[in-house]
Amino acid sequence: MKFTLSWLKTWLETGASLGQITETLSAIGLEVEAVTDRGAALAAFVIAEVVEALPHPNADRLRACTVNAGGGHVSVVCGAPNARAGMRAVFAPPGAYIPGSGITLKTGEIRGVKSEGMLVSFRELGLGDEHDGIIELPNDAPIGTAYAAWAGLDDPVIEVSVTPNRGDALSVRGIARDLAAAGLGTLRGFAPPPITGEGAASVVWDNQFEAACPWVLGRSISGVKNGPSPEWLKTRLESVGLRPINALADITNFFTLDLGRPLHVFDASKITGNLLYLRAGQGESFMGLHGKPVTVGAEDCVIADAAGVQSLAGIMGGEATGTDDETTEVFIECALFDRVRIAQTGQRLGIFSDARQRFERGIDSQLLPAALDAATAMIMEVCGGRPSLVTKAGARPDWRRMARLRFDRIASFGGAEMSADDAVASLEMLGFTVQARDAQSVRVAVPSWRNDIAQPPALDQADVPNAAIAAAGAAEIEPEVDLLEEILRLRGLDAITPVSLPVEAAVASPAMTPKQARNGLARRVLAARGMLECVTFSFLDHNVSGLFGDAPESLRLANPIAADLDQMRPTPLATLALAAARNAARGLGDFGLFEVGPAYTGAAAQALVAAGLRVGGTALSAITAPRRYDVWDAKADALAVLAALGMPLEAVTTSLDAGAYYHPGQSGVLRQGPKTVLAAFGTLHPKLCARLDLPGGSVAFEIFLDAVAAPKRRGKAPLVLSPLQPIRRDFAFLVDKSVAAESLLRAARGAARQVISEVVLFDRYEGAGVPEGQVSLAIAVTLQPMEKSFSDAEIEGFSAKIVADVAKKTGGVLRG
């Protein structure tokens, strides 16, 4: 919403400065988005007389002018075809900055003739597109005075952002009212003298769509003379960026902005028949005043005559019945349209207009007769003409909204200190009228322009036992909170004393559950292992999603912002892989990325996954030969996180059924028991790497954090520290190549659980000396005596048991 300071002052009597006004606007909820003072940019330009305009001696298209800008005669070379002796023009002296062309003037010489300034066009001043010639001013324009001040351009333009609840503030008068209520002056009254008119209107309303239009007024004015608006009106509209059209159109635009009261003026001679219907659209099209065809449907309210649709009610008038310079008979429409229907029609058709903006936020339902009279008076004043009686359909809507304020709520809800008198005074300044008041409370009637206050209840309640009581509570409290909001915002929220939240205990309980806290731990473990945490988008190309399992329709976006962001990711690994590929494409190799974020498997199924990916290998070094990252890095990453989360690693087994995006021979799934899948890891499948331009051999893991049970909060088992030295015995077994190393280690570990403290695989060999199809696995077993050293016979016994158990469980044979 844009307006100028002088326009505001037509409604607000105030001595406040521009700064005070803008500061107050922002504080009370009318956020100032911009203040532009065009006068400041045009300060250098003055009104001048062209004394002489002779042909340039050396150029056919130029003129050598002598100009009087109030300070004596100067020579100016000018290329404008309309430059002529005796005219008044706008002169820019050397040093002036020309906003339209972005240059700063200097005294110069143009083809041998001195030029000490410039005569400018509207475009050069940044005031429009007009550049057929220099600006021509009336002959009484005072020579030597500042052009901006003379043209009324030194009037600061204020632009405020009006929140969706404040339809009343989409008018200069509404803004003035708020400022007055905030103590910045006095609001001028609005009481146009009633106009009765004579004779029936040339057109009569036939309202067939009362749900969309409960009340409509109209009146014809005959014998008007349309044409350009008077200067004051043109200036007013131009100052807020509106293009003047003709007086009749400009007057309706003026009332839209001035009173927040959209009007429409039909050229009555272009209306077919003498009935204007308010009815639903029937799929027909008409040409709107915005120059585009509008197709209306059964939910849209239109205004139609015998020939068809002429206007989209409350949103956009039609070209066919619009006013022009030949218009002599007009019909003024002044209607009340249903907010919700206007909003829905506007959204459906994608048409934005000042009228729609006001109707959908709610206009003053009681203002119709006065606004129609005010508009009639202005048309008569500017264009002449004789008004008819008012024609109407529907009835003035009942507006009786009440709200009650208990004064103690100012402190107990608002945390503010304010006297009851001050609170009531604020409300009265906003137009509320006191109906009853006692020491504890006041009951006020809500002004008809405040559609946002004490609205009919509009709950959308959950099915909960307390619903009815809660609804009654809202009905009682909501209007009071509306009033509290008004008095608190007007008084300034900064005046409320901040109070720190009282704490229940000096030492706060943990903010997170143990399960939530683990996510941070997982992050720190992975980052401490040298990986970089990423945050990638939750959505990606559905084709890429398919590479990582699935891309179900239920996780497809109906309105994606881009085609490659149309599917919820099945795993964060998918978007990490894309991120890794982007880095690789930039020539950045050798890194690890991870993300702790959501994976989506259905519209109601979201899981938290810690995924990671390593590309390349260890860094170059003179000390250690660099090596490629391999599946063991990914497995170690996954196990490190699981261990940190409290998962006992001896309970973790590895199965060989990781997803198809992993290398089938270099991947695994970490499980706890047969059912719980804790993580997957592996080398990424070469086809996937090729498809995503990811360096081959990249390795990855996914840890399914939700599957990791929260560690039980119990004391650890007591630790017994043996004073005796442990003994190590090494064994090498020949096993079938298909035997999992994990099962051999498990068999050895289980052979004498009480004394075997550790089993480590330290060599894996196949080749010469090992039969085809077999592999030699060498393990180191640590035996820990607890009370007395083992005898040789005991050690022999343990060894025999290990060999026997390994043979039994894996078919392994001790290597000779």
Partner: protein, 355 residues
């Protein structure tokens, strides 16, 4: 009396030692103290002497032995020293060369900020709640007093999925306020929660990302006032930006789910970007007293309970705190950016260490 010849040859042996290596020293030892050594022989001969002569000769011979042994061990020690010095020189390494490389990881700035927010609000008695990214339109809009035709719903450019949740359209939550609703439905007041999480709006340019992060806050109680809203948010902002005097301003505004609603500004310098300095104001979060309709929609009687809610944009305050210029790079995962702006892995945000 010890013969002078013995003295002389001992002196010669001692003098020669200085140039001997370990083997030479052993030869000298054997020459004197071996089975057939000079001193060994003389000592054996003592038994045949008279007690007086034996006493004098014995003392002299022991003195020789002592001197010889001392000289031998001194020379051996010197040799060890030399050998060690030589070994150390052999073992010299150019330690100016780089150590064994270890990749350095980092925590994403968004995670870091979420940790800090949790630490600060945790100290004020808040707990962390989470909820699904994919919501139905009741939790995201209806319950929050945003009816279907409301202009505010159009403001939010919501992403919808080709799916429904319990007969309602499924969408990507445009704010984490939906978890307010979930909490109020399951937990009786008093409530004091923050809800960090991913949020989505159909907007993509230099200052908007289709996915971003928000922390919603909700406080419900019997005596919670607008004064607490101000106190709580001022306490948070001053701690987060590490400036106990940070100017904070509250401006009336409008959100459908709060009334009164307010935008919160902090003082900063528009030119230098310094927080807390200069005379400019920067909008940083939205807040307000929970709308009675929202309470009632969730089955809470607004006559009994009231409170406030707020929403903080995580990326925005992260950019301000760390002077990060471009929003889009938060999600680009450029390893150079992650290394530069990422936080150290082993220093989680803890109030006693300072956030």
């Amino acid at each position: 009396m010890v013969a002078e010849d013995l003295e002389m040859s001992l002196a010669a042996s001692l003098a020669a030692m200085a140039s001997l290596d370990a083997a030479g020293l052993e030869d000298v030892r054997l020459q004197w103290l071996g089975k057939a050594g000079i001193l060994t022989g003389r000592l054996k001969a003592l038994g045949a002497m008279t007690p007086e002569a034996r006493k004098a000769e014995g003392a002299a011979l022991n003195d020789c032995k002592e001197r010889l042994n001392q000289a031998l061990s001194a020379r051996r020690a010197a040799l060890d020293e030399e050998a060690l010095a030589a070994r150390l020189e052999r073992e010299r390494i150019d330690v100016t060369a780089p150590a064994r490389p270890e990749p350095v990881g980092a925590i994403h700035p968004i995670s870091r900020t979420l940790e800090e927010i949790t630490a600060i609000f945790g100290a004020m008695g808040f707990t962390v709640k989470e909820g699904p990214d994919i919501e139905d339109d009741w939790h995201a809009f209806g319950a929050l007093n945003i009816p279907g035709h409301h202009p505010a719903r159009a403001m939010m450019d919501t992403f919808y999925l080709n799916a429904s949740l319990g007969n309602r359209p499924a969408l990507l939550r445009p704010h984490t306020s939906s978890v307010q609703v979930r909490t109020m439905l399951t937990q009786a007041p008093p409530i004091r929660i923050i809800v960090p999480g991913r949020t989505y709006r159909s907007d993509h340019d230099a200052t908007h990302s289709p996915m971003f992060h928000q922390t919603e806050g909700l406080v419900i109680g019997r005596d919670i006032t607008l004064g607490h809203l101000k106190g709580c948010l001022i306490d948070f902002l001053r701690m987060f930006f590490g400036n106990p005097a940070l100017p904070v301003r509250f401006r009336a505004s409008y959100f459908p789910f709060t009334e009164p609603s307010m935008e919160v500004d902090i003082g900063w310098n528009r030119k230098t970007g310094e927080i807390g300095k200069g005379g400019d104001w920067l909008e940083i979060l939205g807040s307000g007293m929970v709308h009675p309709n929202v309470l009632a929609n969730c089955g809470i009687d607004p006559r009994e309970f009231q409170g406030f809610a707020f929403g903080v944009g995580i990326e925005r305050i992260t950019m301000l705190k760390h002077g990060i210029a471009d929003l889009r790079l938060f999600y680009e995962s450029d390893v150079r950016w992650l290394r530069h702006y990422g936080a150290a892995p082993l220093s989680p945000a803890m109030l006693h260490e300072g956030v």
